[in-house]
Amino acid sequence: MPTVLQNIFSFIFLVLFQVLVLNNIQFLGYINPYLYILFILTLPVQMPRWFLLILAFILGISIDIFSNTLGMHAFATVFVAFFRDGIVKLFTNIEEGNNPTPSFYTFGVSGYIKYIVVIVLIHHATLFTLEAFSFVHFWILITKILLSSLVTILLILGIQSIKTK
């Protein structure tokens, strides 16, 4: 039960933090981190997939409503949520019946970093491609994806390494 409450709280906190603080960060015109994806990353591994998808959709659409980009964040978030299980299996070997919450301790440092990097890159690539809706400014798009992903990844790793559990 406490984990459910904790997750509801972190959902609200991440949405507000994203909308009120991070969306106003426009360093060099390229860097706009999307930290809210951390919510999907920290849900327990064995969570039913249909529930994960619906949570991802609600998360994405909440961000969308606040940032005038109806559908874009929802699309990207549902997209990574669908591939999350596969990516977890790829980088870690969790025994049957275990249901750990992803972190440095349960995945191992290198496994966890790989997991974060792949998911954040997929999410940002989907999101920025949808936003541009064309490949006309291809190199700008690539720079935006890489720089923003880098900042998001660093933020997530920083937050996760502070957490003690």
Partner: protein
């Protein structure tokens, strides 16, 4: 039949995934017709109310800059008053009762001041939300300016809020001209940097210089003539091109935008009706 049901159960997650993605995608596509989604965007009063609250905190830190701007504007206006008074006093002896003063109809404007409560500069499609709406007399297609220059055009209006398409949006197309020689072209944003936009349709025979001032042309009824837009930062022309590529440094800093004025052109409807009528007669 049983096989079909088994199949559906086995792949239910995939179907849910596809369903959610299709919903999201159709929302994105539908969103291109911006008006349809006003209900779910920041014209929505709850979201706007929250932004207004967050903005009231941030605004405090911008007070100093706003004060500087206001005092500058104040002095400019005072100077203008003195100039006009001087002109008036020189005209007075000649002006008998028979001559009465009349404002030209295209200059009849009123300003509605408004505050920016949400804006972005780093997206490809940027929007600005204002805290005034139809109650305060704002209508679609009105122009929006700040003390520094042109901001954008009102696109959607709810009762208490309105959304502006700023210059920083490829959908905006504002007609501009050179202050020096009146050649006009369209201002388009390339999507890279919130400080610069580009000016199109300037033919190669036009004489340009770096730093030339660009102002609104007054051909669209949203803006009166002569509101500053920016200065030429750089221009290029290839041997084979018929038109210049001109990079314009925008005079408005969209990053720190907070107080704006919406232009209410009093003869808008009359002008539109007349133009429509003459088109129909042809």
């Amino acid at each position: 039949m049983k096989n079909l049901i088994n199949f559906l159960i086995q792949y239910s997650v995939v179907f849910l995934f596809l369903l959610l993605e299709i919903i999201s995608f159709s929302l994105i596509v539908k969103n291109q017709e911006y008006q349809k989604s006003v209900f779910l965007t920041s014209s929505n009063s709850m979201v706007s109310g929250m932004y207004e609250w967050s903005n009231s905190v941030v605004e405090f830190f911008k007070l100093r800059a706003a004060n500087d701007n206001l005092s500058e504007e104040n002095t400019a206006l005072k100077n203008q008053i003195i100039n006009l008074q001087n002109k008036l006093s020189t005209l007075k002896p000649e002006a008998s009762d028979s001559i009465h003063f009349r404002i030209p109809p295209e200059m009849e404007y009123r300003f509605i001041s408004a505050k920016v409560i949400n804006s972005s500069t780093n997206k490809l499609l940027n929007y600005i939300t204002l805290n005034k709406g139809s109650i305060d007399g704002i209508k679609i297609d009105m122009g929006v300016i700040s003390d520094e220059g042109v901001v954008g055009i009102v696109k959607t209006v709810s009762q208490r809020f309105s959304v502006v398409i700023p210059v920083l949006n490829p959908k905006s197309d504002i007609s501009c001209k050179f202050k020096r020689n009146n050649y006009s072209g369209g201002l388009i944003w390339s999507g890279e940097d919130y400080r610069y936009a580009s000016l199109t349709d300037i033919a190669r025979h036009v004489e340009l210089a770096l730093g030339d001032t660009i102002v609104t042309s007054g051909y669209t009824s949203s803006f009166p003539e002569g509101i500053p837009v920016g200065n030429i930062e750089d221009f290029k022309i290839k041997e084979s091109d018929a038109y210049y590529k001109i990079k314009v440094k925008l005079s408005v800093n969209f990053h720190t935008l907070s107080h704006v004025k919406v232009i209410n052109y009093l003869n808008f409807q009359q002008q539109k009706d007349l133009e429509k009528k003459s088109e129909e007669q042809l």
